[in-house]
Amino acid sequence: MSISRRVLIKSGGIALVSLGLDPLFLARAAFASYRPLPPITGQSRRILVCLFQRGAVDGLNMIVPHADPIYYRERPRIAVPERDVVDLDGYFGLHPRLAALKPLWDEKSLAVIHAVGSPDSSRSHFDAQDYMESGTPGVKVTPDGWLNRYCQHDREHQDTPFRAVAFGPQLPRILAGSAPALAIDDLQAFGLRGPQPAARDRLTRAFEDLYAGAATGLLSTSSREAFEAVQTLKRVDPAQYRPADGVDYPRGRLGKAMLEIAQLIKADVGLQVAFADVTGWDTHVNQGAGEGQLAARLDELGQSLAAFTRDLGARMRDVVVLTMSEFGRTVRENGNAGTDHGHATAMLVLGGSVNGGRVLGKWPGLDPAQRFEGRDVAVTTDFRDLFAELLARHLGAGDLGGIFPGFTTDAARFPGAIRG
């Protein structure tokens, strides 16, 4: 499906500079100047989908170092039995409830980065999530998120209101900033609400007329984006969407988010950056081993990712899904058959350009001498190096300076998640 683009030039934009107008307004106004572009065809843009596992996922039970006896020694109740682990490379294996991802590993579109995390040692959920979303570990006053800074930095793809979309009720920190981004809780409900479609359309037109006539500045550009988004979504007709044959997304928030992301990708509305989060990983008590709380969460994750890749089919060629979590969990289980806050964790990358079929990063081992503060998996890959690689090598970002303030990205430190 192709869409036509309206050309909107902000006239007098240069003149406004000399009046000393708020440069932030100009930055946003510049985003509104949609250039005439050819309709999108099969030559589609690369897409990055970020999934935040909030609560600090236990990397060790997710991607199990089943060949290491220390793992079994330290987790008498919650270690995943070796016979249940889905082996990946003879040392690591998948939690059995992630078995749906094994075919992706085999066809080399899934890679794991283990022992990845933050240089900051905070074990506070909210601090660590803040640092991972702002991309500035240790600094709390960064106003925007790293994904938004990427969007600011790469103006070329800012030709659609759907360029950066978070699937949830609010715009997350990772997408906060001066570059436009949409938070969509429900594709079908996006836009004005009305008792029936006719009333809804009339209301939409009324507001569109109001804003077209009387809004100025940022209210004007944002409202135009809003109505363009609503129009576009109407054509996409989310209520009619059916996933590809035989694809069944699991019930629940994550399944729904992945379905909507797939839908928007297939609708060719210019989506480039997508975000969703999934909660429930903070397994302090009764974590479970092959079965149990964590297993249930992993099941949902695995099924959602598998359904997503099947639904997109050949289009996965252009898509990379990244999972992330603010930190990992203790090597040793605690007194409540769970785990406490740790340090490094495991992240997954999945997609066409991924250097799959391997566990990346430098595995530090589980020996107490090699642990962080004697208790957690040590971090050997700074998360910023992984994120930078995805931006540079998958999305093709040019100069990464400024996307991670206070950090000098260096391709030599990229974990090697992306091919070529």
């Binding site: 946003r28 106003p143 715009l171 009339r202 209301l203 006539g213 209210l219 709380q293």
Partner: protein, 525 residues
């Protein structure tokens, strides 16, 4: 040369030698502007009332809130259980909720969706919602409008995050007893009170900051933070509070301090802690944790051998520092005048600060009496935050909050969940932070729901706003009562078109009000 305009009436006189100005504000427009900035927007008929009384007289009254009768709000507050709980009560409720959660998880092996049914957990959540709701209703109902505006200002300036561990039960007390009583007093008093508040000490981790090598004189039992047992003694100095104190609360990021200053400040605040945090205890100075060495901050020497007093001394120094006066004045001018605050406004505010030794009322008075506040170019030049939008919408249609705490959820949906700003810088003031396409659509939806009486948490009777009936009359009433006369020609035409196709006059009125409240004019203040 700048002519200081003392009252808008005098502004009608053209100052000699001044360049050609835009026409000065009429009494009506002055009143509307004041109500939009100094208050959360006008109620029906209030613009005329304030204009008749004289806008400067109204402003001066707002500067002395204790003299304003606030009976209606007092009655509403009387029925709110959240105000009866102190820190200890809330702590007990929170701990019970945590225990219940753990019991459920121990018993279950799947994610307990039944968690939400647990009465202890539900109670905790209800109280949090009521606490957030309180802020919205107070802002909407109070006669002491400027006072509530300042409470919101300081809540963001001295931000605390409600969802961080013990702050769940420390924050309500922080707002009630630390911020609110001092919102219009002296800045120094407010600063010192926040520095000693358990909520701030916990939020920015200072309660665990101890001099290197210090250890408590008695064995520590398990300390609970955020419901998790943390069996570690504090490991040393924590710089978090020191940094934010200098960067956000006082001097500002360009205030001229160095990393060495941050470290020295952190050393000064070692030992500033909380007594029995898991039970909602108050401020306690732990002498054993305090670094008694000599420090130097901003070139000022703090001799060795001092205790809690050197923290107080430092706070007074910071409160009266020129960089602090400037930093906070910039924020105040941002809030009341323009996102990019005019230098003259900031200068006036700083001058008043100096003269009054940081008297917040004096600083505000200088801003409201200054020419920048009344400059026509600055009228309607700001965009409302989600809280300001919702509260002004409630006021303009005389909405009555009901007993369910649902309004907090609406503010959250609009992007500003109260007390839940994660970072210490608080919710931003600039329009770029709030105006995006999704947010505007949300505002339109809220406006339409509000006008139709379908916004949860409120009852609305539009009869007091506009008559249902003749379209011309209706549009005129909406312009006058809701938009304060700022309705554009375009809006009039659009409304005319839309309303003419609706038979039911009650429905037409709801549509007119919904479109006006969701439209571009109403987003501005």
């Amino acid at each position: 040369m700048r002519i200081r305009i003392v009252s808008p009436a005098l502004a009608l006189l053209v100052p000699l030698g001044a360049p050609a100005q835009q026409p000065a504000l009429t009494p009506h427009d002055s009143a509307l502007h004041a109500l939009n900035r100094v208050a959360y927007g006008p109620r029906p008929g209030e613009v005329a009332r304030v204009a008749a009384q004289g806008v400067m007289s109204w402003i001066d009254r707002q500067l002395a809130p204790e003299r304003i009768d606030d009976r209606r709000l007092a009655q509403w507050e009387h029925q709110r259980p959240i105000l009866d709980y102190d820190r200890g009560d809330l702590a007990a409720i929170y701990v019970a909720a945590q225990r219940a959660r753990r019991e459920r998880k121990r018993a279950a092996d799947t994610m307990a969706d039944t968690l939400a049914d647990d009465p202890a957990v539900q109670r905790g959540r209800r109280l949090a919602a009521q606490f957030q709701e309180l802020a919205v209703v107070r802002a909407a109902l109070t006669e002491r409008q400027l006072y509530e505006v300042m409470v919101d200002f300081w809540t963001n300036h001295f931000n605390v995050y409600l969802a961080k561990g013990a702050d769940r039960f420390l924050t309500p007390d922080y707002i009630e007893h630390t911020i609110r009583p001092r919102a219009m007093g002296k800045f120094e008093d407010l600063l010192i009170a926040t520095a000693q508040s358990p909520a701030m000490l916990f939020y920015l981790d200072n309660w665990q900051s101890v001099a290197p090598g210090a250890s408590p004189p008695f064995p520590r039992s398990a300390m609970r933070r955020g419901g998790q047992a943390v069996r570690r003694a504090p490991t040393g100095i924590n710089e978090n509070y020191a940094r934010e104190l200098l960067e956000l609360h006082t001097l500002g990021v360009d205030g001229g301090y160095t990393q060495q200053d941050v470290i020295a400040v952190a050393r000064i605040f070692t030992g500033w802690s909380i007594r029995r945090p898991q039970q909602g205890g108050g401020f306690e100075f732990h002498d054993w944790a305090h670094d008694r060495g000599e420090k130097q901050v901003l070139g000022v020497r703090f001799p060795a051998g001092h205790g809690e007093d050197e923290g107080i001394r430092l706070l007074k120094l910071l409160a009266n520092h020129p960089a602090t006066m400037h930093h906070v004045s910039v924020e105040l001018c941002q809030r009341f005048v323009k996102d990019d605050p005019p230098d003259g406004c900031v200068d006036d505010a700083v001058a008043a600060w100096r003269q009054s030794n940081g008297g917040i009322r004096a600083v505000l008075g200088a801003i409201f009496h200054g020419p920048d506040f009344w400059s026509p170019g600055n009228v309607g030049a700001k965009v409302k935050t989600p809280l300001e939008f919702l509260v002004s919408a409630m006021r303009v249609v005389s909405a009555e909050p009901d007993t369910s705490p649902r309004l907090a959820r609406t503010v959250a949906r609009l992007g500003q969940p109260l007390y839940l700003h994660v970072a210490p810088d608080g919710y931003p003031e600039r329009e770029a932070a709030w105006v995006n396409s999704g947010a505007l659509l949300d505002r339109m939806n809220v406006a339409v729901a509000l006008a139709a009486g379908r916004l949860p948490g409120l009852t609305v009777a539009l009869d007091s706003v506009a008559p249902a009936g003749d379209i011309e009359h209706l549009i005129g009433a909406v312009n006058d009562r809701i938009l304060g006369g700022t309705m554009s020609e375009n809006t009039k035409q659009v409304l005319g078109r839309q309303l003419s196709s609706i038979d039911d006059p009650v429905q037409a009125r709801a549509l007119a009000v919904g479109l006006a409240v969701g439209g571009p004019e109403f987003q501005r203040q």
